[in-house]
Subunit: 530 residues, 2 copies
């Protein structure tokens, strides 16, 4: 029995998640989710293909977004969506983060280029809420929570990508807590645009007395417009010509003495940024889910209508196989993302250390595994369409082009795998992972053999030299994703028979990929393989 | 030790293939291959990125190719490359088909959009050489073999893609062996262009007395220009806006009473087309190899130059892993394509039935597995570049966009898998596959366990009901590719120690993917899995 993305999300939030603990009834959740899905389908989706063709444009230091975007953004703002899970004190609705995650799935599926603006704004809100001074928060957050101003994160520099320790942007003290920023930032998503009158920039830079490396980086906040209504000394120097997300302006930002304030403690900017990045990483995991869901929607519709050899192509076993792979791995990815979001909500609600460990453990898996599946499913969606899928009219190709960025940004998937193996396993010698495996074994005895293999691989990784462990870190993360997916699908099928067929397909036909990854790890880390 | 693509190809042709049996010394082969590689690097590659940006353009019934193309095409023609493996009688050099395959790898890697023109022309030459009348051959082939005219294959119609039995283009007899073609063909690669003065179209259509379905289809040949120098009644009705291969014009062709001649026997057009398609399928397999090779070349160069965290990124274990995956699976794909080409050469030379069976068995595996790896490696190549890879300037994104078509055209990879399982295993109950497995077991005892599993899966598939077999046909084809790759790499490593590291990596880290596929087949066809 097929379920819609909204039904799956509601199920994931209420039956498998813990929105109830946040004081929300299942009906409350269903109402918000259905309204979010409807808004994205009716307001965001219709302009997405035209926006991709138009793309963001740059001329004379200014970015112009697709014709439809300012209007769509106004709808977004007026609907109050930006504040869904933002603090009430600054005008938000303070709903659990997992509901924001649900909203982001629909928005990213409808138009990833558009949704990236609100996604980055949410990250900036979270960062300022945690690290900003009361005065900064009171001055900036109400405008951001309402959606009146957007937020942008300025980390990467030409010489400084995965290794932020080498960044060079400098902050010159002007006295009275004010600084002038000098430097160039690249790959700044929604760094400039014409949808709002102001933009808030969170910028990593060095103070004059900063020690070299990653311990000498501080966080600053700057706005496009100054309090007196004049332009700050920062501007967009150009936008990238990309494979996809054409309508999302990816900006080079030039800080030419821009006025800024310090956020949080000097030299501790990376900590603040990493805290925010965990959240952004979950949001990008959701992007993987969203592209899979959109690809599936298009492929299902096409396969139900296209006829070859006297029957609809959905009736052919190999086409049915492709659709089931998309359905099963997209649902598994959705459940992993929601499980991660639920751990975040639990931690924010209770401050529980176990929840924090679980959140930290799941985040890199969710980011990397869900975005790998997003690309894979977008590609399978193209394949279901045949030649039509390769032509841009059908929309399937755009999903693939848009999906391909997600394994790269917010920390490449390779970096996620190293984070998982070196930091998340390393800090407790795999204890949090073993706890998770034990939970999975309890809930899903049918995957016990694979769990045994995965637990043994975990022990091999924990015991390995760092370089050896990192050479199989991606294989390990991938195995973890398949195993987690099988566990969560087993739980889902136990709670609701509508998921039984998907669970069975995933376990029989996709879980063996975890076994292959485990064999790879065993072969490299000492046990014999072929 | 790293080897270049040209070195690998020479090794594959001479040490593993049988160019010697065709009377060519290793030096002869090396000379042709090195010259082909040089030509593609110096003449074709330089304009590829600009051609992608320009794209093919259509206006008023006429296609204009990228500015550089007519000049590059002239070089191609003047170099005599089109005739490399064409019959001497029509001006060709009659070298083995595997040398043409080698040339195609370099040309497709340099610029797939450009190379598709010659690739399709070669298919049309082969078809006419086999099925044309002596008079047709004498009149058409010299112009095509010289490259003065190109060839295009006109199969697909809007309602008729994978199922050609439903095509509607009709051929109206005009007497004296002449026909008027009426109908619309879509997705015609290089269907119109401005690089030559004439184009030869091979067109599938129905005669008035044709039985319905696939047994009522005949093959016709038409030319853009008639013998008297006037235009034939056919024209390009538009070109597709595609995800990639932007510079290859993908045309809708309108036949509006175009004068044509029958090729071969009435109602037997599909047979002729399938004979030609086997060859085209091998060429598309080579496209997969080529995209992997080009992606690897770009990624290696970037990783050797880009520094993060104080060292070149190629030194990081996870980046090294990505490069090795690309290297190993591209080499495996190259060896599979060359093995298939060698079987074709052997068959053409000796008429040997075993060689024909081997060619028929390997063709769908080569087409599907090599193009899947092409997409995968192009995507990994983007990943190695990080954010830069997603921007079009680096070139990696173009490789991925161009690679994505190969699993679709010349029979989708799903169709290849069905061909493998239903026809190639079905016709001899898996005997040819068992012979291949026995040969692999002999040459590569280290992969014996996997071969046992693959042989058992083969028996399960042969015994299964057709619909059940087809639901795992893609898994089976994928397993076959990994197994074949491991076997050929083992042979390569035995002959040349330079391949030992790659073989070891592939066997330890990639061959487990075959095991996962075998587990999937076992689970579906009755043996228990998790």
């Amino acid at each position: 029995m097929r379920t819609t993305a909204a039904e799956d999300v509601i199920f994931g939030l209420t039956r498998m998640g813990d929105t109830e603990a946040s004081g929300l009834s299942a009906d409350d959740v269903a109402q918000v989710v259905n309204e979010a899905a409807r808004f994205c389908r009716d307001q965001i989706l219709p302009g997405a293909q035209a926006a991709d063709r138009e793309g963001a444009r740059y001329a004379n230091g200014t970015v112009t977004t697709a014709r439809s975007y300012p209007g769509v953004y106004r709808q977004w703002m007026e609907g109050g969506w930006q504040g869904l899970s933002a603090p009430e004190e600054f005008g938000g609705q303070a709903l659990p983060g997992s509901l924001w995650v649900a909203m982001m799935e629909f928005a990213l599926a409808a138009d990833a280029s558009f949704a990236l603006g609100p996604l980055l704004t949410a990250g900036a809100i979270e960062c300022l809420d945690h690290y900003g001074s009361p005065e900064q928060k009171a001055r900036l957050l109400p405008h951001m929570v309402s959606g009146e101003w957007t937020g942008a994160m300025c980390l990467t520099e030409p010489q400084s990508g995965s290794d932020l320790g080498t960044l060079r942007t400098r902050a010159e003290p002007l006295g009275e807590g004010r600084y002038a920023l000098h430097g160039q930032k690249i790959y700044i998503t929604w760094g400039d645009h014409d949808c709002t009158g102001n933009i808030v920039y969170l910028v990593l830079a060095r103070l004059p007395d900063a020690p070299p490396g990653s311990r000498g980086i501080s966080l600053f906040v700057a706005t496009k417009m100054l309090a007196d209504g004049t332009r700050n000394a920062l501007r967009c120097g150009g936008i990238e010509h990309k494979m996809g997300i054409h309508a999302s302006p990816t900006c080079t930002m030039l800080f030419e003495g821009a006025e800024a304030e310090l956020v949080g403690t000097p030299h501790r900017g990376l900590n603040a940024m990493f805290a925010m990045m965990n959240n952004a990483r979950l949001a990008i995991a959701v992007q993987g889910v969203a592209h899979g869901a959109r690809a599936l929607e298009l492929a299902e519709a096409y396969a139900a209508e296209r006829e070859q050899g006297g029957r609809k192509i959905e009736a052919y076993p190999d086409v049915a196989r492709m659709l089931m792979e998309m359905r099963a791995s997209t649902l598994a990815a959705r459940l992993i993302a929601l499980e991660t979001a639920a751990a975040g909500d639990r931690f924010r609600r209770t401050g529980d250390a176990e929840a924090e460990l679980r959140l930290a453990l799941l985040t890199p898996i969710a980011k990397a595994w869900c975005t790998e599946r997003g690309v894979e499913n977008a590609s399978t969606g193209v394949q279901v369409h045949g030649g039509m899928g390769y032509c841009e009219d059908a929309g399937a190709a755009q999903v693939l082009r848009d999906a391909r960025i997600a394994p790269i940004y917010e920390g490449t998937n390779g970096i996620q795998a190293i984070d998982l193996v070196a930091r998340k396993l390393g800090r407790d010698q795999g204890a949090a992972m073993r706890a998770l495996i034990a939970e999975a074994r309890e809930a899903a005895p049918a995957i016990g053999t694979t769990l045994d293999g995965f637990e043994a691989a975990t022990a091999l990784i924990v015991a390995a030299e760092p370089e050896a462990a990192q050479s199989v870190s991606f294989a390990y993360l991938d195995a973890a994703g398949w195993v987690l997916g099988a566990w969560l699908l087993a739980r889902a099928a136990q709670l609701d028979a509508r998921y039984a067929e998907t669970e069975h397909f995933f376990r029989q036909r996709m879980l063996p990929r975890a076994v292959a990854r485990i064999a790879e790890i065993n072969a490299v880390l000492g046990r014999s393989g072929e």
